[in-house]
């Protein structure tokens, strides 16, 4: 889901990730010998955990040590709303005992913490084994060994908070209008180290650096109507695995004036009409469309029903691979955990499978699934690695990494030029899709009517609905590479207990014919 629940609140701490970074400080402060010692100490802990698990009876064990530090700066109406700096660390141990899973997380990065986590994971696996069903099999993998670290110009966590606050306040200024009652700007920064070891010999250390930001304007009319606009994306803006140069390049202050103007203009805009029409969907809303109606249904754990009670299942079946008509020939979707700047970019996933670009939909036909070693073994195909956990305290799940709509050809203007009567829909506002990922209703912040190939007047409260394969079957054009943009989201929810994933989607604007718009209560 995305975002998992509109009302899911992180009650107790930051609305963003907690974080922890002692080893990073050590890595920065010390020479290469010190770097090796810090990393080795963490690797040793992971090794002790898997050794303890095996001693307790595990047939397979892996351990992840995660250390994360994150910052959030939020300003509102020209004042600082929140400045927070958080860290978290711990070890998560996953085991197979008699073919049944067990998992335990412990915050103590010590021998005691590692061994306790291992013992508890084994005990829970053993207790669950009587109701564990078929013995879990994992598709074979050569043991992953190595390091991964991105190259960034400016580590975003090290950028002074004063600079972050100043950027937010500057961006807010441009949104001011009499009708705009609330302006908000946020920036975030994170760095994380993940060490993974398994009883199969895997031993990897990966480092991740993320940052991002966004702005929002809320306009309120004298008679109480409310409208909002956001940039570059709703739901906290957009993020990337990048240095601070990414945030500076977003152009929050450059776009602020337009955002404020459009929020104000929506107050007096006509409502989106109801009917069946042609829609051109902007790149930002296409992110949600891809995420909800392609990303989640192609998660193989959902296909096999393991998310049925909560997030739901999928209209897809294992045997649909290679044959199911998902959409028109213009539809090409790729899972790519190697995309530069992607929030889902890694060298190995959280069970040691190497990153690999793979098609998910090719020419409108289902061509791949997102998989784990367990689900890959079950379907009998090597589908790459898509297992990710949101922290040391959660078991990895099948998650999206970077899932892209491949570009077609031509410009946005070209898409619009070929519409006699329709709508151009921009920026997600509301979202809902059924448990099989078929019936959806999405809303956007703004729409512009299209008349005889030209954009016309602004419309408020646009919504559209459809059924996934029928909707994608109505795709008749995707704009070209020059219109392709990647957005990084930090709030994809799944699992019980719940987990957030950070994912990226690259999309171009796309055109769909004969779509129901203007759903009213």
């Amino acid at each position: 889901m995305w975002p998992e629940r509109a009302v899911e609140v992180q009650v107790l701490s930051s609305a963003w990730e907690g974080a922890r970074g002692r080893p990073f400080r050590a890595l920065r402060a010390a020479g290469s010998n010190r770097v090796s010692k810090v990393r080795t100490a963490v690797q040793d802990l992971a090794g002790q955990a898997i050794d303890a698990a095996v001693a307790d009876g595990a047939g397979y064990a892996d351990a992840r040590v995660v250390q994360r530090r994150a910052q959030l700066v939020a300003t509102k109406n020209g004042e600082v709303d929140s400045v927070s700096d958080s860290e978290t660390e711990g070890i998560g141990v996953r085991v197979l005992v008699d073919g049944a899973w067990g998992f335990a997380g412990d915050p103590r990065l010590s021998k005691e913490g590692a061994r306790d986590a291992a013992a508890r994971a084994v005990a829970f696996a053993r207790a669950s084994a009587t109701r564990a069903g078929a013995r879990v099999e994992l598709t074979p993998r050569p043991p992953a060994v190595g390091d991964y670290a991105p190259t960034v110009e400016r580590d975003p966590v090290d950028v002074p908070l004063e600079e972050k606050i100043a950027l937010c306040l500057r961006a807010e200024e441009g949104m001011h209008r009499p009708e705009v009652k609330i302006t908000e700007a946020t920036v975030r920064a994170m760095r994380e180290q993940r060490v993974f070891r398994s009883t199969e010999g895997a031993s990897v250390t990966q480092r991740f650096v993320e940052c991002g930001g966004g702005i929002d304007a809320l306009a309120v009319s004298d008679d109480g109507r409310v409208q909002n606009r956001s940039y570059p994306s709703a739901h906290g803006g957009s993020s990337a695995q990048a240095g601070w140069e990414f945030v500076e390049g977003l152009g929050l202050d450059r776009e602020a004036s337009r955002v404020g103007e459009e929020a104000a203009a929506l107050l007096t805009a006509a409502p989106c009409p109801s009917g069946v029409t042609t829609i051109v969907v902007d790149a930002e809303q296409m992110v949600l469309q891809v995420h909800e109606s392609v990303g989640h249904p192609t998660e193989l754990d959902r296909v096999y029903g393991t998310e049925a009670a909560y997030a739901g299942t999928s209209f897809l079946k294992p045997q649909d691979l290679g044959t199911l008509r998902y959409g028109s020939e213009h539809m090409n979707i790729t899972a790519d955990p190697t995309t530069p700047l992607g929030l889902g970019t890694f060298r190995w996933d959280d069970e040691g499978s190497p990153a690999r670009r793979q098609p998910v939909v090719e020419g409108g036909v289902l061509a791949g699934y997102l998989a784990s070693r367990e689900t890959a073994a079950r379907i009998g195909r090597d589908l790459g690695g898509s297992m990710r956990a949101d922290s040391w305290s959660r078991m990895p799940l099948v998650r999206m990494s970077n899932l892209h709509l491949e570009p077609g050809a031509g410009s946005l203007e070209g898409l619009i030029a070929d519409v006699d009567d329709g709508l151009y829909l921009c920026t997600n506002k509301s979202w809902s899709i059924d448990d099989k990922r078929l019936n959806f209703q999405f809303g956007t912040q703004a729409a512009w009517e299209i008349k005889k190939g030209k954009l016309g007047k602004l419309l408020r409260d646009p919504t559209y609905m459809g059924v996934t394969p029928e909707f994608w079957g109505r795709l008749d054009a995707v704009a070209g590479p020059e219109e392709w943009r990647m957005f990084g989201l930090t709030n994809c929810g799944k699992g019980q207990p719940g987990q957030h994933a950070h994912v990226s989607h690259g999309t171009s604007p796309a055109r769909f014919r004969d779509v129901q718009v203007g759903v009213r209560s």
């Binding site: 609140v9 701490s13 004042e79 700096d85 958080s86 978290t88 696996a125 207990p497």
Partner: protein, 454 residues
């Protein structure tokens, strides 16, 4: 002294020389998650997190850590101080909570706190065994959570809470039924009975057919009305939304907006819910009457919004921890008054011709100012004909006005049910809503979806 309070006081001391408060969360929990009648994701979690807020000359900064040794707390203090030092004065900051007596509440049960992983797995197994003819999906979970807040003002409060929940979806390719139960006492739960309820419901969903989209008269079971209510509450019964004009209640307090049978309050002290003694700034919980006989009365407040209102409002004890306060105060102990109906069947008689909804899926707020919410029904949607529940219906897309639904109430059951509302993201913080089943004249369906089942 609880572990949480010990950590909170140590954290405040680590911020030597500054005004500071610390909110602490300590968790130990187990989650026996199952699918297709097999436990597949058994997860045990231990963690403790300290959020330290430092105030320097009106400038405020926060830091959170789960490193609770002296070095970790000192680092958190340094980070919080650096954040405060970097910030301009926060004119909205309402100061730190002064010490005040907090009410004694229930909500902690030794037996629940001590449940072992073996017992958690055993409860899951009992649920699975009770639905032998269908696949069972869901979880059994229990945990113990300690919350504490300490401050340089001398504030020092703490509370231990337990919680247990069992959630079940019984399903095959063509049928699905749902049931859940939650309590702060694990002994209140009967996992087998919950699974049986789900299986019985599933059996009735075979052969579902579509209905024509329209505004239906409808019965909503507690699972369904609970979710709608909480989405409405999050966006409209929150003082920040009220003050910013985003709430349905903005400019409408004092007006009769709903049916007279609709009365709603938040009560952290209610032992039938998940009792809470104080909020995450250490403010004692107050009972807040939000809707009385259909008239909008109030929303919940924290210290910041009370100051922002500037009209004599005080915090009602509904603050989140400092870094999360951008959401505004949240009613975590909602209660909706029951009515006269002795059963859900009696509600069906009031509806006469309409639909029966067991559960909802993936809600989205289309228009918070007007309280319009979209989502799907699932795992037990039926026709009501001649005042009786008759045949199964496919999943329905609804886009409905919650205020219109509450204005069109036809009846409510006398009994109310606690429905868990936590999805267990991040730190565990048990909360739920106490709601009856309801009958309404206004549940707007705008489309049809797939049938029940996997």
């Amino acid at each position: 002294m609880t572990r949480a309070l010990e950590l909170a006081e140590r954290a405040v001391k680590a911020a030597e020389g500054d005004e500071a408060d610390a909110s602490v969360h300590v968790e130990s929990s187990g989650f026996a998650r199952f699918a297709a009648s097999a436990v597949h994701q058994p997860t045990l979690i231990r963690d403790e997190a300290v959020t330290l807020r430092v105030v320097r000359d009106g400038r405020v900064g926060c830091a959170t850590t789960n490193r609770t040794d002296d070095e970790g707390l000192a680092d958190a203090a340094r980070h919080a101080a650096a954040a405060a030092e970097s910030s301009p004065v926060d004119p909205g900051f309402a100061g730190l909570q002064e010490p005040a007596p907090v009410p004694a509440v229930e909500g902690y049960d030794d037996a629940t706190a001590l449940l072992s992983p073996e017992e958690q797995a055993g409860a899951a197994a009992a649920a699975i065994a009770a639905a032998p003819d269908l696949g069972l999906y869901g979880y059994y979970t229990s945990g113990v959570t300690e919350i504490a807040v300490a401050s340089t003002t001398g504030l020092a409060v703490s509370q231990a809470m337990t919680d247990a929940s069992v959630l079940t979806l019984a399903a095959d390719d063509d049928s699905s039924g749902y049931a859940e139960a939650t309590s702060w006492r694990a002994s209140d739960l009967d996992p087998a009975a919950v699974a049986s309820e789900a299986a019985e419901k599933a059996a009735d969903t075979r052969g579902a057919t579509p209905v024509e989209p329209q505004t239906f008269r409808a019965v909503l079971e507690p699972y369904a009305i609970s979710e709608l209510l909480f989405y409405f509450a999050f966006t409209s019964l929150n003082a920040l939304a009220l003050l910013e004009g985003r709430s349905y209640l903005s400019g409408r307090l004092g007006e009769k907006l709903f049916d007279e049978s609709f009365t709603l309050w938040d009560d952290g002290l209610d032992r039938r819910n998940y009792p809470k003694s104080f909020d995450l700034e250490g403010v004692p919980k107050q009972r807040v009457l939000m809707v009385e006989d259909g008239v909008a009365r109030d929303v919940v407040w924290d210290r910041r919004t009370a100051k922002q209102a500037g009209d004599g409002h005080v915090s009602t004890g509904h603050a989140l921890a400092p870094p999360a306060q951008a959401f505004g105060p949240i009613p975590f102990n909602l209660s909706m008054a029951g009515g006269e109906a002795g059963s859900v069947d009696e509600l069906a008689e009031l509806v006469d011709d309409g639909i029966h909804v067991t559960r909802l899926h993936y809600l989205g707020v289309v228009d918070p100012r007007e309280g319009i919410i979209t989502g799907m029904t699932r795992d037990g949607t039926f026709r009501i004909e001649g005042g009786k529940v008759t045949t199964p219906v496919v999943n329905l897309r609804f886009t409905t006005s919650f205020p219109a639904l509450a204005a069109g109430l036809l009846g409510l059951t006398k009994d109310v049910t606690l429905v868990n509302r936590s999805d267990f993201y991040d730190e565990r913080y048990p909360f739920g809503t106490l709601v009856p089943a309801v009958a309404t004249s206004a549940f707007t369906v705008v489309g049809t979806g797939s049938g029940p089942g996997l």
